[in-house]
Amino acid sequence: MPERIVVPFGPQHPVLPEPIHLDLVLEDETVVDVVPSIGYIHRGLEQLVQKREFTEYVYVAERICGICSFMHALCYSQGIEHIMGIEVPDRAKYLRTIWSECSRLHSHLLWLGLFADGMGFENLFMRSWQLRESVLDTLEDTTGGRVIQGTCKVGGVRRDIGQEKLDEMHRALDPFEEECRDLGDIFLNDDTVKYRLQGLSVISKDDAYALGAVGPTARASGVPVDHRETGYAAYGDLGFKPVVETAGDCYARCAVRVKEIYASIDLIRRAIDQIPEGALDVKVKGTPDGEYFSRVEQPRGEVVHYLRGNGTKHLARARIRTPTLANIPPLVKMLPGAQLADVPVVVLSIDPCISCTER
């Protein structure tokens, strides 16, 4: 029987931009067990809700993550709006949808680049990030911020996108989609990529569901869970069908994200076509008194903001369950059996966001 050794993976590792630690138990080069630990950059942002007014906490929620920042603000705002019975104007819902899908686009393109880098495919990494830049430019043009947008607030949005800019965005979508499809074609059809990813760290549909996997990690195993189906923001008007794969391996997790890029482009196109005229926000009166589990589909999966108001301007509790936290148990189950050299790719395949996890 081979001798077992423990190899520490992280918190500092070339493929990890953020710190998470895994103790890998190996037999020769094969992983047989994994013990994760987090907390290297724990920020205590949940606690901060007791020191910031509920309208100000949107800024804090937005800073939980630098990738899906807009969606954290959206999830928080929707939760407060539900507690207070606030009906957001339709135009604001469409703008929220457009910015959410732009966030998903740049997040998935960021991930594709990191994933390509993890596989050692350097020029594919650069091409992915080149495309991501154009999405960040659009976010900067329409919100003023590339990373933190600051446009979502309780009761609506702070900024509009003028018709001229919307038309410009619409015109840019066709060539952008063509470029994304060229990029996606490499991820989906290149022999080297397929050889590297197919059959690697398979997690079955039943396991993914039982372990509480969310987002592309769940959908790649055939679990058709995508919170956009509940129709929050403008998704109810636009109609939406989750992207689902069934193989459950690293290739399937990659394929879901590639196809979600196409789906996001389509959603943005239809949102621009259908966006109504009207107000951007409603006046917020009173203070939240009640509780709600607000849920939104982020690029990495379902995020939950549990919000509890006590009738004062400060919330009593904000508890945020981020998708990466939910995807840690599936990661622990999918790593055993992998070779040590494959561990970086497998870890990246759940698109870990430690910034979110260390809220």
Binding site: S37, I38, G39, G44, Y292, A316, R317, A326, K333
Partner: protein
Amino acid sequence: MTVNEEQTTISVALEDLTREVEALHAGGYRLVQIGCTGTGETYEINYSFDKDYQYRNLRLTVEPETEIPSISGIYWGAFVYENEMHDLFGIPVTGINIDFKGTFIRTAEKYPFSVTRSGGDRCRNA
């Protein structure tokens, strides 16, 4: 087609927790999260589950010293939330399948990390 989301919360007694969770597991619900809220002298622990966007929340109210049985024998992935609950709030959870004994969240501060914790700390690093 848009799916309507429903949320329901029911209070459970400590002795009924495992049975209620087993019933949800048998009913095909997935575990969404376990979260703790300090409410003065007690803690509220929310066990959240989902099936087809129907959100079921079991609410357990306990004293600071109360030991909570782990549900990781039913939902394997619950160890993440139970260790987190122990490390941040000092809630003693017994029988976790992967028990980090206070080292899951590696903060420089000794756990429990939360300043909202009340009562004595019976949790100790192994």
